[in-house]
Amino acid sequence: MIINFLRGALLISVFSMAACSTGPTLEAEGYSEPVFTAERILSEDAETRAASDVYDPWQGMNRRIYNFNYHFDRYIFLPATRGYQNVTPDIAEEGVSNFFDNLRDVNTFLNSVLQLSPKKSAQSLGRVAVNSTVGLLGLIDVATMFGINRPEEDFGQTLGRYGVGPGPFLMVPVVGPSSLRDGIGLIPDTLVNSYLKEEIFGEDGATIASLVDAVSTRSRVKFRYYETGSAFEYETVRWLWTTKRELDVAK
């Protein structure tokens, strides 16, 4: 079960332990003292606390967006993915997902070039070249069969590469946990992606393609809001995500 916990934590692609905020001072607010208080339990050592801090000055807004995402997921997004999975044979689902991954590999290539990383540039360019041709416009992931690794680089990571810190934690509607830096990074990434979709499908087709892409992507992410069993899910997701992004930038 330990394994499940840790793997679960890693799988959501989100790593835990969260931010701090000292919390209410009980005496000042006239509450009766619980059996265990922070004063009694937590050591004075400030470092112990600071280690798990994530900078989250917009917490009020972020928590509301987290809540919104839960409802959006439960009543719109997940029913859509279930419908999609019901009408689509598994092999077609995989093709669709490969196709959109191939478009994302183009974006990874651009960011790898910006990061001056020859290895990742070669890998992502190689993947796009192989998958777009032999892989029938990306429907079949031949590159993975050939053993070409799939790096994932976005503009947030590129900014991080050049020393831009993550800034405040940011919960993005529908998309999920992010940071100010990565949220800004989403803009050029999305523009590149939309440009490719418009080139392939035309303007109207691109909108439909984006919807299919969103549903297909969601169907492959196991995370469900408020089903992790953590009573501190927001805090946990915040820390896991922040840690994961630190590692992504370093990778």
Binding site: M1, N4, L6, M17, G23, I41, G229
Partner: protein
């Protein structure tokens, strides 16, 4: 020369002796990890997995257990009990699965068992542990989990409601009922089976307890002591946990980016964890689940354990403060400062020692001794048992106990022999 041949015949004789004795004993057990901590943390390497279907129709569902219950706003999303099912299209026996401490109906272990039983032709209904937050909020009558009899009643109520729904909505045909659970879920299964003898809603055909504790108090004490192996002491809980995650992160960074079945095994090898650290990791993993359970319970009952009684939390309240406090507390703190006093005050639960003794399988051993349908699968080196506690199963269950030489706590549950034994228990 004589000496030499004497020696030789001795060796040959010894060899024969060994050969016959191992031939007389059972076949060699092939689970590869002998160390109890490593097995508990790492589980089964994928090349030793049982052959199971990749995909089964395993669906999450919700059921309202107490429709009139007022749910605290901080847990607004837990008003209904989550569970999952995998149903056969034809008439089939049904098996209920109960997860271990803090684990969910769709966690890795339950899902793995669901695949095995679905493949073997069972309708599968998978339940979270009564210590899982969603269960505490939506389905625990008292809101204070860990009580052998109350947990069994809560589980039984949920199982009855789910059974009714299956008959009404799915129109499936059920040819018989079975029950299994691992760790605390195994313990729960024993008490649920006993309750069923009075209530008779299911009349279970077979019940299998997998790696259950004997005494809850002994096991939680062991787990708390494991957490004390944290380098620098429990005060360093947060730092240790963070270091560990960074360690895993380093492995992740060097990997191809995928967290597959063997990730932990690779991580363990790469990180070169010592036994103390592994023990600490086990203690920490349990503590993280106890932290959520305890906090949910405190909010539910307004006991005032870590949250001041008068304080009302909303869905937007920052909970990090409580997270830090409660994850620094152990199972035994909960037991002595909340769990026992709560039941002492609300149900005249007698003195502390009697209460501790009653929360055990020993307490119902007459029932376990006399009930052939209940069997157990356990490991000689399970880390949640005190030395000697494993003998309880040999003595009480006799032939009905299958005890493997190693596997730690639930580490060998995915190993092919173990899976075969699980299935065999219910199909022979």
């Amino acid at each position: 020369m004589l000496k030499h041949s004497l020696l030789r015949s001795c060796v040959v004789g010894l060899g024969l002796l060994l050969a016959t004795s191992s031939w007389g004993a059972t076949e060699e057990y092939g689970y590869p990890i002998k160390d109890k901590y490593v097995a508990t943390v790492v589980g089964t390497p994928s090349e030793y997995f049982a052959d199971l279907p990749k995909k089964i129709p395993f669906k999450t569902r919700r059921v309202s257990i107490f429709p009139d219950r007022e749910i605290p706003d901080a847990f607004f999303y837990d008003s209904e009990l989550l569970y999952s099912v995998a149903l056969q299209r034809k008439a089939a026996p049904l098996i209920f699965l109960i997860a271990g401490t803090g684990s969910s109906h769709n966690g890795g272990t339950n899902y793995q068992m669901a695949r095995a039983f679905y493949q073997a032709g069972f309708h599968v209904v998978s339940l979270s542990s009564p210590t899982f937050t969603n269960f505490v909020i939506s389905a625990s009558r008292t809101g204070v989990p860990g009580h052998a009899e109350h947990d069994a009643e809560d589980l039984y109520r949920a199982m009855e409601k789910i059974h009714t729904l299956l008959l009404e909505k799915d129109d499936i045909e059920i040819t018989g009922f079975n029950l299994t659970g691992y760790s605390l879920g195994g313990f729960n299964s024993a008490y649920v089976a006993k309750l069923d003898e009075q209530r008779r809603s299911f009349n279970f055909d077979r019940v299998l307890l997998i790696n259950p504790p004997v005494s809850l108090y002994n096991s939680i004490s062991l787990l708390d002591r494991m957490a004390e192996n944290i380098p620098g002491g429990v005060d360093n809980f947060n730092l240790f946990f963070e270091d560990l995650m960074r360690g895993f992160g380093e492995v992740y960074k060097r990997s191809s980016g995928d967290v597959g079945d063997n990730f932990l095994y690779d991580a363990y090898r790469a990180m070169d964890l010592q036994n103390e650290e592994l023990a600490a990791l086990i203690g920490v993993a349990f503590r993280l689940s106890s932290a959520s359970m305890v906090f949910a319970s405190d909010v539910m009952t307004n006991y005032g354990y870590v949250k001041p009684k008068e304080m009302r939390l909303t869905r937007h309240t920052d909970l990090q403060h409580f997270n830090l406090v409660v994850s620094r507390l152990g199972f035994t703190d909960y037991y002595h400062e909340y769990f026992y006093p709560f039941y002492r005050d609300t149900e005249n639960a007698g003195n502390r020692d009697d209460f501790v003794r009653s929360e055990s399988l020993t307490h119902i051993q007459d029932y376990l001794l006399s009930t052939p349908k209940i069997t157990v699968m356990h490991n000689e080196n399970d880390v949640i048992l005190e030395p000697g506690e494993i003998d309880f199963f040999r003595e009480v269950f006799g032939d009905r106990a299958k005890i493997y030489p190693y596997g730690g706590h639930c580490g060998n549950m995915s190993y092919r022999d173990n899976v075969a034994h699980m299935i065999d228990t219910f199909t022979r």
